[in-house]
Symmetry: C2
Subunit: 256 residues, 2 copies
C-alpha cells in the first residue's frame, strides 16, 4: 500500500506545484515508484511534466467523480518511475457537483484504495484553497507536506492551514500527520526571508526541514520546457536543494 | 454610481492583493473615494491595511450572504479616502452554502447597487480560484484588472481566465470589460521575466499597461507593518510603480 503525501497550502504561489514535481522526480530518481496526482484545475503539474493538453482526459476529475479508475487516468512521464494523473479545468466544478453526494470527502481515498496499489508513494498537488479538492487530498493522505514561501502573507496563512488539518483529522482522517514544512523561495540577501525562516523554526521546531529551497531562476525556467528542474538543470542550486529535501523526506518516512 | 474594478487571476501568488491594496491607496491619494472589498477567505488585503482580526465581522461574507449591508461591513483605514470591507475564513463556505440559492452570482452586485453609492471606485480583491466568489466579483464589476506575474505558469493561466471572463460576459454581465493587464514581480536580470513581458505585449497588445511593477523587497515588507507600500516607503521603486499604475488606470477610466 503506498504512502500518500498531500502537498498543500491555501496561500497562492508558494511553491506547491514546484515542490510536488521536483520532490516526486527526486524520489523516483532514487528508485521509488511514484504517482503524482494533479488536483489543481490550473493543471500546472501536468504542464510542468510535459503532458500535452489534449492527453489529460480521463484525469483526476474523472477519478474524483467516479467515472474513471486511477489506472485509466495515469500516464508515464519523461521521468522513469514517475507516473502522473493529470488535471483539467473540469475539476473546478467538482466542489459544486459533489454537494449532497455521500462520502464526497472520501472520493479520492476510495479511488486510491484499489487504484494505487503498485506505487511506493502517491504525491498530491493541491490548488490554492481549502475547498473540497484539498479536503479530499487531506482525507486520502497519510501525511501533509507544506511549502511555505519566505514571505509575510504566507506566514499568516499557516495557522489557517493547520486549523483545517486539525478539523480533517477530527472528522475524517484521524491518522493524518504533518510530514513537514519546507521553506521556499528563500533569498539570503533579504531580511524578511531570514526573519520568516527564524519565526517558522521558532514556532514549528522540528517540523521544519533543514533543507531550505532558495529562489533560483532555473526552477522557474524549467516548466516552460515541460521538465522538472532535476532534468532541466541537474547542477543548479534549485535541483540540488530538492534532492536534499527528498532525502530528508525519505528519512522521516523511514521511521514509519 | 461607483466604477467597480475586479482584481482577479486564478493563479496564486501573482500580486492580486498587493495590487488591490496599493492601487486603491494611490487612487485615494489623488482624491478618489475608494472602497476595497476583500473577497479572499485568507483576508490578506484586510491584514495588509492593518485591520485587526477581531474587527472583521460583519465583513464581505455577511454582505454576500445578505446578512449585512455594505455600510455595516465597511471600516475606514489608515489611508484617508480609502475604506475596507474585510474578509474572514467564513467566505470559504459561501460557495457551498449558496448552491441552489437564486441569483447566487449576483449577490455582490445586488449589495453594491444601494450600498456603494458614495464611492468613486470599488476595488475587489479576489481569491486564487474561478469559483463563485470570483464570479460574483466579475458580475459586479464594470472592468477587470489582471495582475500577471512574469513567470511561465502565470502566462499559461491567462487564457483560462480570459475564457471565464467571456463566459461571465455572455451569461451574467454583458458590459464587463478588460481594464488592463499589469505585469508584476518583474526582475530585469532574469531572461524569463523579459520573455514573459515580450510575449504578453505581443499577444495582448494595448491591454497591457506601460507600467511594469518590479520585484521590490519594500513591497513584501509593507504588509507585516499593516501598511500599503505607498505609506511604508513612499520613495521606494515599488511605491512609485504603483503610483504610475494608478495614473494609467485613471487615464483609461477617464475615457468612460
Ligand atoms: N525556488 C524557486 N525559485 C524561483 N522560482 C520559483 C521557486 N519555486 C517556485 N518558483 C516559481 O514561482 C511561481 C509559483 O510557484 P508554484 O506555481 O509552484 O506555486 P504554487 O503554490 O503551486 O501556486 P498555486 O497556488 O497557483 O498553485 C512559479 O512560476 C514557479 O516557477
Ligand atoms: N512587486 C513585488 N515585489 C516583491 N514582492 C512582491 C511583489 N508583489 C507581491 N509581492 C509579494 O509576493 C507575495 C504574493 O503576492 P500577493 O499575496 O499580493 O499575491 P496574490 O495574487 O494576492 O496571492 P493569492 O493568490 O494567495 O491571493 C506576497 O508575499 C507579496 O508581499
Ligand atoms: Mg500550483
Ligand atoms: Mg491575494
Amino acid at each position: 500500500v503506498p504512502r500518500v503525501l498531500a502537498i498543500a497550502n491555501q496561500k497562492g504561489g508558494v511553491g506547491k506545484t514546484t515542490t510536488a514535481i521536483n520532490l516526486a522526480t527526486a524520489m523516483a530518481a532514487v528508485g521509488k515508484s511514484v504517482l503524482l496526482i494533479d488536483l489543481d484545475p490550473q493543471g500546472n503539474a501536468s504542464t510542468g511534466l510535459g503532458l500535452a493538453k489534449d492527453a489529460r482526459v480521463p484525469g483526476s476529475y474523472e477519478v474524483v467523480m467516479g467515472e474513471a479508475t486511477v489506472a485509466d487516468a495515469t500516464h508515464p512521464t519523461l521521468v522513469p518511475g514517475l507516473h502522473l494523473a493529470p488535471a483539467t479545468i473540469d475539476l473546478a466544478g467538482a466542489e459544486v457537483e459533489l454537494v449532497g453526494v455521500a462520502r464526497r470527502e472520501y472520493r479520492l481515498l476510495d479511488a486510491l484504495v484499489d487504484g494505487a496499489a503498485g506505487y511506493d508513494y502517491v504525491l498530491i498537488d493541491c490548488p490554492p484553497a481549502l475547498g473540497l479538492l484539498t479536503i479530499n487530498a487531506l482525507v486520502a493522505a497519510n501525511a501533509l507536506l507544506v511549502p511555505l514561501q519566505c514571505e509575510f502573507f504566507a506566514l499568516e496563512g499557516l495557522s489557517l492551514l493547520l486549523n483545517t488539518v486539525a478539523r480533517v483529522r477530527g472528522s475524517f482522517n484521524p491518522t493524518l500527520a504533518l510530514q513537514g514544512i519546507v521553506l521556499t523561495m528563500y533569498d539570503k540577501r533579504n531580511n524578511l526571508s531570514q526573519q520568516v525562516v527564524a519565526d517558522v523554526r521558532d514556532t514549528m521546531g522540528a517540523a521544519v526541514y533543514q533543507t531550505v529551497i532558495p529562489r533560483n531562476v532555473r526552477i522557474s525556467e524549467a516548466p516552460s520546457h515541460g521538465k522538472p528542474v532535476l532534468i532541466y538543470d541537474l547542477k543548479s542550486v534549485g535541483a540540488k536543494a530538492y534532492m536534499h529535501l527528498a532525502s530528508e523526506v525519505l528519512k522521516r518516512e523511514g521511521r514509519h
